[in-house]
């Protein structure tokens, strides 16, 4: 068993560089802000923040130069599949087994590559975002409706109906599950725990 850490250059990944830059901006803002604090309050944040910022800048440059390892298990995953052979596991070194175990953990967390799966994930992300934004804004700026203090419960009911219909659940199941979930939540939170929902 041997899981190679592939040293090949990966093509430029805009998402990866974009995330690096977001982190640079965030940590950079905190570091700059720390320089305006009193010395005692700024000391530890600067000790941590400056090397982190430096590390992030190096990471961004590496990703921009496409020097980053193409880590996401394209190779390692295949080799791990091949490695699920008792003989190779029995004869593998500790380092190789450690690499395989790490690759297994990474494989579990691996982002999908199938376009249909990516579409489903995007839809789910937008659905959650819509629920949070609509419920948050309506609860902050509009008066309560149907005896509710906030819009979280009505929005949860509508959101569940929308998503269950999108995944083609029958109307009966959609209404039953949505009402059951929201009803249970209302009972637990608003009635038992007396939260103003």
């Amino acid at each position: 068993m041997h899981v190679k850490s592939s040293q090949v250059r990966a093509p430029l990944d805009r998402g990866r560089v974009g995330f690096d830059l977001l982190l640079v901006v965030f940590i950079g803002t905190l570091v700059i802000s720390a320089t305006q604090l009193r010395p005692q309050a700024a000391l530890v944040p600067l000790i941590i923040g400056v090397p982190t910022l430096a590390g992030l800048l190096i990471r961004t440059v590496l990703d921009l130069c496409r020097w980053g390892k193409d880590h996401r298990l394209s190779e390692a995953g295949e080799e791990l599949d091949a490695s699920l052979d008792p003989e190779t596991i029995a004869s593998a070194s500790l380092a190789d087994i450690a690499r395989a175990a790490r690759a297994e953990v990474e494989a579990d967390e691996q982002a999908p590559t199938d376009p249909a799966e990516i579409r489903r994930q995007r839809f789910f992300s937008l659905w959650v975002l819509a629920f949070v934004v609509v419920a948050g804004f309506a609860s902050t700026f509009l008066p309560g409706i149907l005896g509710f203090h906030t819009y979280y419960v009505p929005c949860a009911f509508v959101a569940l109906i929308v998503i269950f219909r999108v995944i083609r659940l029958s109307w009966v199941k959609t209404i039953a599950i949505s009402a059951g979930v929201v009803g249970l939540l209302y009972f637990l939170l608003a009635i038992l725990l007396e939260v103003r929902l």
Binding site: R16, I48, I89, A159
Partner: protein, 512 residues
């Protein structure tokens, strides 16, 4: 210690606690069976629901979810060849082969009894080592606690995520988020940018749920097609056969338990490494080497025993030093902090009741989960037919509403969502979420102990105290050892390569 364990047992048998343990066990089993949602993620999701509970009951409930998920994971490994959690991956090899041979019940039973014995031995070893760890912690002062936090972050940065570089960035990111709020020295606002919401700092619940549940829910929602695989149901084996096989292999159980416990002590991949090492060890030392890969029961017992003994080892650094060994322990540590339990070194300095509660709570649900799996037998495969997309949408709504319910604060819900996206990006681009979380959890301790050391001992406090110096050296060695090893080996490797090429040249010349 015995009295402490008995008191903890009765505490967990009082009031609504047995119900919480049962509920936690069932939830743990279900999430363990579902690929995509791990025990750690489920624990994070359930944290808001524990606020109404007594601290010891809440911790026991979370622990029940975490430990039962491992047993749920073995069910899918054996019946449908899909590991519920990464530590169950090694069980697939022989477990699924046994299912195909019509020995699924025997495999399930061997894995379950292996888990039970492994967990018991792991916890007993933990209890045996605990007094020594306590003595060590009592000898520690601020510089040692500071260094322990640094060592923990370095170790986890090395062992998780894509690279040490990204691991250290994740740790720094987590620490910087921890510094938001009122400065502990002067009490002035820091990084709040005039926003009242940030005055108390970032509450740990939104990042915890967002990071660990957000990415998992996305995966659960998108992996619908993987859920409905059926097990091989033409089964001729018995539960009793698996039990007998486990007892027959008692020496293997003991060895792999010790291995799992030892691996559990090291923060990082933990259970997965323990399971693979134990499988390799069993394949190497078994009399039936030829059977491995074709349905050897030792190939099921060894990884599951090590995987569960590992949790006993993992409890020790979490409780003694506040350095979690894996995701489950990291979420547990956050749960302890949220319930006002002084996690980390202070936990062992005071009343040990919560420690014993944790030990009992990691033992009882495992036995309960094992009993449920044994009772269901191959029917537990039915759990794999739960549709991930329905569950993910339902869990998302429940979680966001419960986050709002904690403080009636809409910004908490927004922050959870934001950390969900950040967690997804971290997974996608290879930054370690667990290192970030540990940075966030340890941020306060790092800053506090740094200032306390400087005030009490001065800068020399970090290097003049033998314990602190040893921990510092350990952190430096761990951080730079691979690079140093490469540096030292390079001249030797170059010399060997030159020698080999000379020999090849000589052979070529000599050849007619």
């Amino acid at each position: 210690m015995i009295e402490g364990l008995i008191a903890a047992f009765w505490d967990l048998m009082s009031g609504p606690s047995p119900f919480y343990l049962l509920l936690g066990t069932v939830i743990g089993l279900v999430v363990g069976v579902l690929p995509g949602l791990g025990g750690g993620g489920a624990m994070a999701l359930l944290i808001p629901f524990t606020f109404g509970m007594e601290a010891s009951h809440a911790i026991a409930f979370l622990m029940a979810v975490g430990v039962s998920s491992g047993i749920g994971g073995q069910v899918t490994s054996i019946l449908v060849s899909i590991p519920g959690d990464p530590p169950n991956a090694a069980t697939v090899i022989d477990g699924y082969a046994m299912t195909k041979l019509g020995r699924a019940k025997e495999a399930l039973s061997a894995a379950t009894f292996g888990s039970m014995f492994g967990a018991t031995i792991g916890l007993l070893l933990m209890l045996a080592v605990l007094p020594f760890a306590r003595e060590l912690v009592l000898a520690f002062s601020y510089p040692e606690f500071f260094m322990i936090a640094v060592l923990g972050l370095v170790m986890i940065s090395k062992l998780t995520g894509d690279s040490t570089h990204k691991g250290l960035i994740s740790a720094g990111f987590g620490l910087m988020i921890a510094f938001i709020g009122l400065d502990p020295v002067s009490g002035n606002q820091r990084f709040t940018f005039g926003n009242l919401y940030l005055w108390d700092g970032i509450d740990i619940v939104p990042p915890l749920i967002g990071l660990f549940a957000g990415a998992e829910l996305l995966q659960l929602y998108s992996s619908r097609s993987n859920q409905s695989l059926a097990a091989h149901l033409d089964d001729k084996s018995t539960i009793w056969g698996g039990f007998r096989a486990t007892i027959r292999n008692w020496w293997l159980v003991l060895r792999t338990s010790l291995l799992g416990f030892g691996i559990g002590l090291v923060p990082g991949v933990g259970g997965t490494l323990a399971a693979f090492l134990a499988y390799g060890h069993a394949a190497k030392t078994s009399k039936n080497k030829a059977q491995f890969g074709k349905g050897a029961v030792e190939g099921v017992i060894a990884p599951e025993t090590a995987n569960d003994a590992d949790k006993g080892g993992g409890l020790l650094p979490t409780l003694a030093f506040g350095i979690p060994a894996g995701v489950i322990m990291a979420v547990l540590l956050s749960g302890l902090i949220l319930h006002g339990v002084p996690a980390g070194p202070n936990l062992l300095r005071g009343d040990l009741h919560i420690v014993y509660v944790l030990v009992v709570a990691s033992f009882l649900p495992r036995m309960l989960a094992g009993a449920i799996v044994l009772a269901l037998g191959t029917k537990s495969g039915v759990l794999t037919r739960i549709r991930g997309d329905i569950l993910a949408a339902t869990i998302a709504v429940i979680t966001l509403l419960s986050v709002f319910a904690l403080r009636s604060e809409p910004l908490d819900v927004g922050l959870t969502l934001l950390f969900g996206y950040i967690g997804h990006a971290m997974v996608k681009y290879g930054f370690s979420r667990i290192t970030f979380l540990i940075g966030l959890v340890l941020g306060g301790l790092v800053e506090q102990t740094y200032h306390q050391t400087m005030t009490t001992f001065g800068p020399s406090g970090f290097v003049e105290r033998p314990f602190a110096l040893s921990i510092l050296i350990a952190a430096i060695v761990i951080l730079f050892a691979p690079a140093l090893t490469r540096l030292v080996r390079r001249p030797f490797a170059a010399a060997r390569a030159a020698r080999d090429s000379k020999a090849a040249e000589r052979e070529r010349v000599m050849r007619p």
